[in-house]
């Protein structure tokens, strides 16, 4: 192996080890028993903006979000509806403090999101596609 190939392999390994949410695809995931197999961006956006509490079939959704400052949350909203994190935070402040709706519950990380989704038939969350577990159902891929 020449020196160039060696450096390329090392660099690739390093880059692969660095969390890079911005470049990752995200998966919107739900419990395997969810009656829907897919959702579109608009439906997911409405759930995460509190415009609806229901899945398209009318069943109640338990929406799981990531921490307010997390990179994955920023990436998610940019991909799902084009909103910046500042815009989302101002929006949720308005929704919360006008008493219209409470913000979604949060989980610490993608592992915790999936732990809730696996245990809760009505739960929905989002995780990096690379970290998606087989036990959850992918409803939407965000690229």
């Amino acid at each position: 192996m020449n020196i160039f190939a060696h450096h390329l392999l090392v660099l690739s390994a390093v880059l692969a080890a660095v969390p890079n949410v911005g470049a990752a695809e995200l998966s919107v995931v739900a419990h395997p028993q969810n009656t829907y197999d897919t959702m579109d961006k608009s439906q997911v956006s409405d759930l995460y903006l509190g415009r609806t509490h229901l899945f398209p079939d009318g069943s109640h959704a338990r929406v799981i979000d990531h921490p307010r400052d997390s990179d994955i949350r920023k990436e998610f909203f940019e991909k799902v509806n084009g909103m910046s994190l500042n815009q989302v935070n101002a929006y949720w402040a308005r929704m919360t403090f006008t008493g219209r709706v409470l913000p979604p519950e949060t989980a610490a990380d993608s592992q915790a999101v999936q732990a809730i989704v696996v245990d809760t038939p009505q739960a929905i969350g989002y995780v990096p596609d690379a970290q998606r577990q087989p036990a959850v159902k992918e409803m939407l891929r965000l690229q």
Binding site: D69, L85, A93, R94, F97, G99, L102
Partner: protein, 483 residues
């Protein structure tokens, strides 16, 4: 003594009333030194349980142990808050302190040479605390208290809402209790600086609104059709009324026993359009105890004397300042375009009241903000035009009458006109500003406003001598946060 044009005269009440004899007319300067008190909120025709409920539930919710906002919403307590630290300075001369809305009492700053008055930090500064309990996925209890600069010291005026919200069916949401007055785009978020780019809702549009909340309830029907979300909402109830200072020690609680509002909102993509109508019947009188009763009595006395023209004028003046049972109709339309990089917001409203001394006018604003990462520069234009003309003594009542009567009659006429003109609003503001989102919970804002207060426009600059047009530059710095 304040000038003739000052909107908040200290008119003396003649406790003995007016006999009908012009000799008994008190001279107007004598009116100026007395105090009067507004009516008491306890006289309102609202159930006692409703009056107690908002702050009782708020205190209960506040001190009940909660688990914070994490975890499943149902069965959890949510305690959260927001606030603003504000400071403003202006170049008004002679100095007059700015008021953000008509519930604030202007400070006598005429002898101050500093750009910043002693109360400059109070106007925009506020602290809100909200406690909510999600009983079930479809039922919640919410209470919010807001500490802000306002003339009233009654606890009930610091509880903006306390209600039970429920969704009986997915398309319907309803609230019962003290709910936010909702007819304009920003009706329910006026205190929440973090939620909008500018330092405060445009004063010309929101500064005069005498309601923050309604004791009653509302019902909304939500409909989705071809990508559009429609929201049809009705709201009804009463209000103990915000306290509006009429003098340094005297408060008029603009109470209402009938409030009805209807709004239709359509959202599609980044667009939002909202049209609204609101009817308010005022149930309190501006001066039931002293101040205006003296003026009323004097005017009634002149009206009963059957002096050609003068008596008719006095009768009309008396009618135009009778707040109780007066009606206010508000028509409004607003739009928002809120896309990732740009935000455009505009509203137009017309207020028509059954008396001249109540709110009358047409008001509008337009704002454009550009998001550049954490920085959001914006420009804002707002204005208001009065719906009634200036009441002036084109023909002094005393003209042609015996000399001893002239003074008292002319003073009474001046006092009546002064009172009737005190709610006129005629001004516009051009503003430029910048918001910086320091982190996900804190935003720092700066805004420069150039306000042109036109002659005889009193309500929004109550301490200013506006016998002529006045130009004021104002600089505001606000730190908004949530927690």
């Amino acid at each position: 003594m304040r000038s003739y044009c000052h909107p908040r005269p200290r008119l003396k009440h003649s406790r003995a009333g007016f006999s009908g004899d012009p000799e008994d007319l008190p001279t107007f300067p004598d009116f100026l030194d007395s105090r009067f008190r507004g009516n008491d909120a306890g006289k309102l025709h609202i159930p006692r349980w409703l009056r107690l409920k908002p702050y009782a539930i708020f205190i209960f919710l506040l001190f009940f142990p909660g688990d914070g906002a994490a975890g499943d919403n149902a069965g959890r307590w949510h305690v959260m808050g927001y606030g603003t630290l504000g400071l403003n300075a202006d170049d008004s001369h002679p100095k007059s302190s700015f008021v953000r809305d008509i519930t604030q009492l202007e400070q006598d700053s005429s002898t101050t040479s500093s750009l910043i008055t002693d109360d400059a930090w109070k106007r925009d500064t506020r602290l809100g605390l909200q406690v909510a309990f999600q009983v079930t996925p479809t039922v919640s209890v919410v209470s919010q208290g807001v500490l802000r600069d306002q003339v009233s010291s009654k606890l009930i005026h610091y509880i903006d809402w306390t209600f039970v919200a429920f969704n009986p069916i997915p398309e319907v949401d309803a609230r019962i209790g003290r709910v936010g007055y909702d007819v304009f785009l920003m009706s329910e978020q006026r205190n929440l600086g973090y939620s909008y780019p500018w330092v405060r809702p445009p004063v010309e549009f929101y500064g005069w609104v005498p309601l923050y909340s309604v004791d009653g309830g509302d019902l909304a029907y939500n409909l989705t059709d071809k990508g559009s979300r429609w929201r049809f909402k009705i709201q009804g109830g009463s209000s103990p009324g915000l306290g509006v200072p009429i003098d340094r020690d005297d408060i008029f609680y603009v109470a209402s026993d009938k409030i009805f509002s209807a709004t239709v909102t359509r959202e599609q993509g980044p667009w939002q359009l909202k049209v609204g109508y609101s009817h308010v019947t005022v149930s309190s009188e501006a001066d039931p105890l002293d101040f205006r009763l003296g003026l009323f009595t004097a005017l009634d006395g002149v009206a009963a004397m059957d002096i050609p023209t003068i008596s008719a004028d006095a009768r009309n003046a008396r009618r135009q300042m009778t707040w109780k049972d007066s009606r206010m109709n508000i028509y409004t339309i607003g739009m928002v375009y809120d896309q990732k990089d740009w935000m455009v917001q505009a509203e137009l409203a017309k207020v028509v009241s059954s008396i001249d001394m109540s709110m009358n006018g047409t008001m509008a604003y337009a704002a454009v903000a550009r998001r550049l990462g954490d920085w959001t520069p914006f420009v804002l234009v707002s204005g208001i035009r009065p719906g009634v003309g200036v009441h002036s003594a084109s023909v002094p009542w005393g003209d042609g009458l015996p000399e001893g009567v002239q003074g008292p009659l002319n003073a009474l006429q001046a006092g009546a006109n002064q009172a009737l003109n005190s709610t006129r609003m005629n001004q516009e503001t051009f503003g430029l500003g910048l918001r910086w989102d320091a982190n996900s919970r804190v935003a720092l804002k700066g805004q420069w406003d150039a306000t042109h207060v036109r002659a005889n426009s009193y309500l929004l600059r109550p301490a200013m001598d506006v016998s002529q047009d006045v130009h004021v530059n104002q600089l505001s710095v606000n730190l908004d946060f949530t927690f």
